[in-house]
Amino acid sequence: MTAATTTGLVSYEDAVRRYDPVLGIEVHVELGTRTKMFCAAEVEFGGEPNTQVTPVSLGLPGALPVVNGKAVEYAIRIGLALNCTIAESCRFARKNYFYPDVPKNFQTSQYDEPIAYDGWIDVELEDGAVFRVEIERAHMEEDAGKNTHVGGATGRIHGAEYSLVDYNRAGIPLVEIVTRPIEGAGERAPEVARAYVQTLRDIFRTLGVSEARMERGNVRADVNLSLRTSPDAPLGTRTETKNVNSFRSIERAVRYEVSRQAGVLDAGLPVIQETRHFHEDDGSTSSGRVKSDAEDYRYFPEPDLVPVAPSREWVEEIRASLPELPVARRRRLQAEWGYADAEMRDVVNAGAVDLIEATIAAGTSAAGARKWWMGELARRAKQDEVALEDLSVTPAQIAQLQSLVESGRINDKIARQVLDGVLAGEGDPEAVVVARGLEVVSDDGALLAAIDDALAAQPDIVEKVRGGNQGPVGAIIGAVMKATKGQADAKRVRELVLDRIGR
């Protein structure tokens, strides 16, 4: 039995008061290339098992790998975005181990010569605090096939009757990004871990190197965690929780390991260096295999491949073509839009940056765009439990709606009815206004008739207003608005009423 099962969990708050957590995160991202890392097999999600294969990705006798140039370019893009140095020359290496999902019984990876190294990335936490994570290396490798264990209750290999292997995934290009020890996160370690992976995910998407869909396993994280008694103490023994594949799980896995390791240390026991599995259902981790020196991958330089030596010109070309990264973009947009820090943070957290940018591009003011997306639209998205971007209204339609309000053709209240129409698929705001007859009544003649009717119906109020008390005038205005079905401009009605009464 391992120590973990014999010691209790320490509450997270207590644990981080007495121990300093140190993180180390390995992120694997599947590159969105058309073909695999070392052969021309197509890469497409969800194909029939073992249809996207060649002699190379099946590891057939005689087959040889050839490096996918696009994958190298993507790896360089990632390296540059993470402020890494790009190697002038680097080699692939063979990582030798026997497992049925590795068709050659070695994985072609990079060992002591990664394509990118010594970088960093700034990670923004939800409250806007910025945490810098240092990157040790980013290297290229190939994915393994996918095992399915059939029979048995757990879907795991133990108790299974037989296992199936799908080699469609074998050979898909991966870039593995390894951080240096992440120190100083303190109690915010879970949040930093999550934000780091989220930042990488956003970068992958912005760079166009991967669809980076967590739920498809495009991005997979292994989270290393150790505790020490103080920030000055040497690093403690770490555990590696494998394949934590959602942002929330990353946060939970870190919290759990902090609590668990604190319990082990409190009991005076050593933390065992091992890989651990994360359990989605209760957020716990459990012991996997013990990592010891006995595990010998017998790395040696891959003799079937020549070194990858990206020319400096090419690297600079790629650097020049890098798109603006998410953090830099957010900073630029905030300055352009004049939002306060808190406002911008809310916009980012609501996932409304792109929507607001597009709405502004369609002619709306920054304040107007924010008012819609963070107000009425946020409310409706929440009510319907959908993401903002999934509402059936476009930024261009919102811009048109706002312009209708600003030109006085409709008022705010009508605008919400127009939005109803747009969301119901009745077309653009203009079309909805016309079809529903919602245009503001701005014809004074029509209004005066309604006002005269209202005044005649409520002589007592007319008297009070004449007497100098403007308070009750609202009742008259209300009657007029009711008579015009809300389509009158309330401000104009008020002017006309007061004028009529003679005030």
Binding site: P55, L58, G59, L60, P61, G62, A63, L64, P65, V66, V67, R94, N96, F98, Y99, P100, P103, K104, N105, F106, S163, V165, D293, D296, R298, Y299, F300, P303, D304, L305, V306
Partner: protein
């Protein structure tokens, strides 16, 4: 025109085909008949592809009849070493672990052979996974040396060499990791060429040691080797290590060399590749060949390559290290033999173990164990790392030697063909067969073996010519000149002195 089509060189047969004096079907059938007649004894072939070969031959004949432009070697039959994958033809690499496996794809060199219209007669025997110097390590029985059926045909490509020497094929493909084309050539009186590393695509060669393996021609004449070299050589985008340059003008060099003028050529005799350990008859023939080269106008100089003394040691670390990884894929999971453990649970790991235990022969296991050890943490620097340093020193020795000489020469193998079983239980003695051929593989330079006479025991001896990387044409020039001079002295090819093989009556 001899009545026996199997006695023609490939170039003469090609001329006869081009002149429509014979058809490819006739030529192919003649070789298939010869295989039927003698291969019961010689056992050069593991698989004979009669139907497919005749079909290709008929297609070539039809194309020729229709006046189509065809490759100069179109219609000339060829044998392919069983380590090269051939779509639709069984490919075993001489191992039980691949028995019955039929590859779904062709090696690049096979694609080129097929595109040029050479009928493939079949697959030739070899030491298992090309590990050996006698073909005794084949899982499917010994190939006999046509000069003496009691003796080994060399290895690992004993099948290809014996097939060519026994007139079962005019051309064959071999592979050479430490001498497996050249040493069988020497002991069977045939020509064998290991091109510059990267000169011929390795795509579809079942790898032993990726950084050393190279495919090349096995023939009876230097010109035939050049013709085949030109066909299979050249860049292949499927092999990252293949050279992206045109094939050196080997055919031109062979034709030019046959004129016999070597004036101005500097021939370097490698001091470390002669003397002790070389059979007297081998040394004597070597000296006579040097005299012959001088007579043709060459200047013979002595060069020293001191690091060659460590070549065998370095080779037996690098080769097994790479082989241990290359052979990991043979695990019973996807293709080939699958053996379930006799008792206990049937897990993937245990099936892999049982399959490899049953499927690999002793020599293969020996090398996998050696290589696994050499790559292990804590030993890597001392073994694999040191061996790579020796490799660099050997490359420097070659570079220095090629400053003093245009080509380097030595005996190809220290002895003539030995008897079956003589060295089977002494791996180190077996490994010494490759002492002269291994340096070229470690440096990636090209090498050729040309027959240069018979030793005192009446068995053939080979003369090795080495050239700088990508200067393969140089050794063709020298080889062709020596061949022409020796044959005029002998009054014909060396192989015409080989004893007649007993033939089995055709049942046809």
């Amino acid at each position: 025109m001899t009545n026996d089509l199997t006695r023609l060189s490939a170039s003469d047969l090609a001329s006869a085909l081009a002149a429509k004096e014979v058809s490819s079907v006739e030529a192919t059938q003649a070789h298939l008949d010869r295989i039927t007649a003698v291969d019961g004894d010689v056992h050069a072939f593991l698989h004979v592809a009669s139907e497919e070969a005749l079909e290709t031959a008929a297609q070539v004949d039809a194309r020729r009849a229709a006046g189509e432009e065809v490759h100069p070697l179109a219609g000339v039959p060829i044998a392919v070493k069983d380590v090269v994958v051939t779509k639709g033809l069984p490919t075993t690499a001489g191992s039980k672990i691949l028995e019955g496996w039929v590859p779904p794809y062709d090696a690049t060199l096979v694609e080129r052979i097929k595109a040029a219209g050479l009928p493939i007669l079949g697959k030739t025997n070899m030491d298992e996974f090309a590990m050996g110097s006698s073909t005794e390590h084949s899982a499917f029985g010994n190939t006999k040396n046509p000069w003496d059926l009691e003796r080994i045909p060399g290895g690992s490509g004993g099948g290809s060499a014996a097939a060519v020497a026994a007139f079962e094929a005019p051309l064959a493909i071999g592979t050479d990791t430490g001498g497996s084309i050249r040493q069988p050539g020497a002991v069977t009186g045939t020509v064998g060429v290991k091109p510059t590393y990267g000169g011929v695509s390795r795509y579809g060669l079942i790898a032993m040691a990726s950084s050393l393996d190279q495919a090349g021609p096995v023939t009876r004449t230097v010109l035939d080797a050049a013709l085949l070299h030109e066909l299979i050589g050249g860049h292949d985008p499927h092999d990252s290590t293949s050279i992206d340059e045109p094939v050196p003008g080997v055919v031109e060099a062979a034709r030019q060399g046959a004129s016999g003028d070597l004036a101005g050529l500097r021939v370097g005799v490698v001091r470390e590749l002669s003397g002790e350990g070389y059979q007297a008859g081998v040394s004597a023939r070597f000296e006579e060949s040097l005299e012959q080269l001088r007579a043709l106008g060459a200047e013979v100089v002595e060069v020293s390559c001191p690091s060659f003394g460590y070549a065998l040691d370095a080779y037996y670390l690098i080769m097994p290290a790479e082989a241990s990884s290359n052979l990991a894929k043979f695990d019973g999971m996807r293709f080939g033999l699958r053996v379930e453990p006799a008792e206990g649970p049937v897990t993937a790991e245990r099936v892999m173990g049982a399959t490899r235990g049953a499927g690999f022969g002793d020599e293969v296991k020996r090398r996998i164990i050696l290589g696994t050890y050499a790559l292990s943490a804590g030993y890597y620097d001392a073994y694999y790392g040191s061996a790579q340093k020796v490799r660099t020193l050997i490359q420097r020795d070659f570079a220095a030697a090629f400053e003093k000489a245009d080509v380097l020469v030595s005996p190809t193998a220290p002895t003539t063909a030995f008897k079956f079983g003589e060295k089977l239980d002494d791996p180190l003695a077996m490994y010494l067969n490759d002492i002269a051929t291994i340096p070229a593989n470690l440096a990636g330079v090209p090498g050729m073996s040309v027959p240069n006479g018979l030793s005192d025991d009446g068995l053939p001896v080979g003369f090795q010519i080495l050239a700088p990387a990508k200067a393969d044409d140089r050794m063709y020039r020298v080889g062709a000149a020596l061949e022409a001079a020796l044959q005029s002295r002998w009054g014909g090819p060396l192989l015409s002195q080989a004893p007649d093989l007993k033939t089995t009556e055709l049942a046809r």
